[in-house]
Structure formats: C-alpha cells, structure tokens
Symmetry: C2
Subunit: 234 residues, 2 copies
Amino acid sequence: MYKEPAGTKLALIKSAGELFAEYGLEGTSIRAIADKAGANSAAISYYFGSKENLYTETLRYVVNHDKPPRVREYLEGDERLESAEGIAEIIAEIVQRKFAAFYSQKQPRWHGRLIMRSLLDPSPSLIAIVEQFFLPDHIDMKKLLKRARPDLTEQRAQLMAFSMMGQIAFYEFARAPVLYLLDRKEYEEGFLEAAARHTALMMITALDLPVPASCAVATAYTPPKSAETNSIGK
Amino acid sequence: MYKEPAGTKLALIKSAGELFAEYGLEGTSIRAIADKAGANSAAISYYFGSKENLYTETLRYVVNHDKPPRVREYLEGDERLESAEGIAEIIAEIVQRKFAAFYSQKQPRWHGRLIMRSLLDPSPSLIAIVEQFFLPDHIDMKKLLKRARPDLTEQRAQLMAFSMMGQIAFYEFARAPVLYLLDRKEYEEGFLEAAARHTALMMITALDLPVPASCAVATAYTPPKSAETNSIGK
DNA sequence: GTCTATAAACCGATAGAC
DNA sequence: GTCTATCGGTTTATAGAC
C-alpha cells in the first residue's frame, strides 16, 4: 500500500511535483526543488536516492491523492443501470466528476498537469500507473457504454472512451492556448462547469440516450423554428 | 515570409525537431542534435545562435510544412454550405483531413508530437504560432458550426470546437498509454481511420445533422431490435 | 562554412561533519 | 536528519585555426 509521506519528505514531493509539472523532469534541478521546499539538496538523495525516483514518487503521490470517480462503483449495484435515462445520468455524473478531479480548485493544479506530462513523456513508472489506474477504469467504462448500447462493437466502445478522455484532458493539456483563445488568464469556474456539461452531452447524444436534467442547460438550443428560418438555404 | 532552410541548416532543424519532439527542449543536448545531423555542435551557434532559437525554428518549420485543412476554404464558396447534409459532409471532411495531417505516415511523426509538446510547454514562440495558425481556424470553425446550427451560442460553438480538437489531439498526445490500452506497438492505419470517422460522427450527431455516407460505417449499429432485448431491464 | 579546443556554468550525487 | 563542501561529469556557447 501507499505510505503517506510527511515532514521534509512531503515538502520535497510537493515542491518537486509542482516544478516537474511546470518544467518537466529534465527542466527541473534538484537544487531548485530543495530551495522551494526549504530543504537541502542532499536531502533528495537521502530520502529518494535519485531525481528519477523522486519523479516517480511525485506521480505516486498524485494518483493516490486525486480520487477521480471509479466507474466500477457505478457498475456494481447502481439501480440507475436499469434504464436508459439512468445510464445517461451515470455517464453525466462520471464526466462531471472527472472534470472536477482534474480542475477543481480544491486540488492543486500541478496534479493534473503532472499527469498530462507523464502521458506525453512515457516513463517506466507510467506503465505501472496506467495499469493500476487507467486500465481498470477504461475497461469499466467500455462495459458501461456497452450497457447503454449493447450493439456497440468493442472498437466503438473503445473510441467513445477515448473521445471522453480526450475532451476532458484537452483543457489541461492545452491550457495555455485555450486560455489564449478565451482571452482569459485563468479558467472561470462557470466555464469548466459548462465544458463538463457539454462533454457529458456529447457522449450522451452520441449514444442516443435521453438527456438528463443535469446537462439540459447546455443543450438549450432555441426552438427548432429558428433553425428553419436561418441563413441556410437563403 | 518563411525562408526555406537548406543544407546543414535544414539537417539541423530536422534532427533537432525529431529529438525535441521525443525528449523535449531540456532533454535534448546540442551535441546529440549535431551528431544526429552529421554536423558539428558549433554549427548550431553559427546558424541559430542558441538552442532556444533552434527550438523556435523547428516549430516554424513544422507549421510551415504541415498543411492541415483551412476551414476558411470551406466557408468561401463551397456550395455544400447550403444544406444541412452538405455542412455535415464538410465537417466530416475537416475532421478526417485534420486526422490525416496529424497521423498520416507521409508526414514525419515528430511534426505532430512537437506541436503537442509546444501546447503543453507554452513558450513565447507558441503565442505567435497560435495567433497565426490556430486562432484563425478556430474562429472559422465556430462560424461553420454556427452555420450548421444558427441557434448555437458563442460558448457552445467554442466548446464544440474544443471537443473536436481534444479528440483529435488525444491520439498523439497520449500515444503511449493509448497504444498500451490497444495492446499495439504502433497505430494501425485502419484504427486511425476509424477514430477519424468516429470523431466526425461525434460532432455531427451532437449538431443533430444528417450523417453523411463517409461516416456511415462507424454508425452501423446492429438493428435497434437487439437493443430492446439486451441486458438492460433483465 | 566547418572544425578543435576550451571556457564558464551548471548538473546530479555523495562524503563526512554535526 | 540536516548541513557544507566538493567531486566528476555534462551542459551551452564561443574563440580561433583552417
């Protein structure tokens, strides 16, 4: 199991994680980490043996503190599984909770960013994390999608799960260009909530499920009448 | 305008781009670049002045050689704009061409990967690239989406454009974990074509447009009959 | 334009005092 | 457990020969 670090060791992990998330493994020096943590650079060798080990440890720290929703919880004994409306609600809830896990201001921002960087720069420690955290959830997500649409092929379920992850990850991964396009310095909470509802809606309409009330705001098109009298066809 | 590099300068840009894409700016030494290019490390100072300048130059090289579809071309005088079916076809074409620009084996893989890295690691040179390449296309994409659904709010159009980009970028950005989940060493061409069709279909169904024939394969659910007699509801 | 040689700074890691 | 001092290696960048 995971042993919770404390004291100087914890301070080093937090400082290192923040710097690794921002500048990457090679872009961060152990002196910078030690300074930020108010510790001595020799402490890194003492506690972790090497910078690489410390990097792995920051990843372990994040995946053990970020608790995104486990799809399995919903697959086991959620009575909403019995109806299409219920499954749509479950999917919306999963998407919104995954957004929250990534972008909640209660969570330090570097958590999500470090995950993003680890996905781009695969390391041996990533494989263990993928196996432990992403793979089980991915398999369960495919099960849930097939539950919603039993006629889904394995590949289509796979692709839908990737579409979901891609849309969620995008706002962290491409944070700087997205904020530039939004002309903002930081994400506003309302924007991220809208993005979460929108993503849930993308999944639910793609599955042709009934739209639950929790996403309904995002789907509030003006009445179809206006769609008839628009610029299309004159 | 962009002046096409040649000779040693070109060799350095190509070698540097490949290494930067794989290991990042800090993870790549100018010696490794020079060796790979069959040149001398002093040549980098001679041609570019510094490693950072060379990095910027590799980005400039990529955005000037990768020619993803310009949405503007479709907004100006494509007669398919006149019908909902036509707009759906245009969207499918854009998605598939953007996939091709990223993942075509005719294009060196490091092009897309370097773009991904530059999105995660914002640098001053990125801002210029975003302004020059992403922003105009993003604005045009929103126009196209509003053309399809004039009742779309600005924010909804924004979110749909982000959903599209997120789904497309995901397969490059998270290449290693995705390949792990697929249990493959490399993407098969058929998989990427399926992913492109699937992504186009996600966009088209979200907009409630008629599904064009080019995506129809991906939507081939087995008849709804089987959906009635599935595990849901017993 | 391309090379060798080297300067100057920084890196990760560690030995040893306390 | 925390510190100073330092080793050995690598980094970027440049000066100067050809």
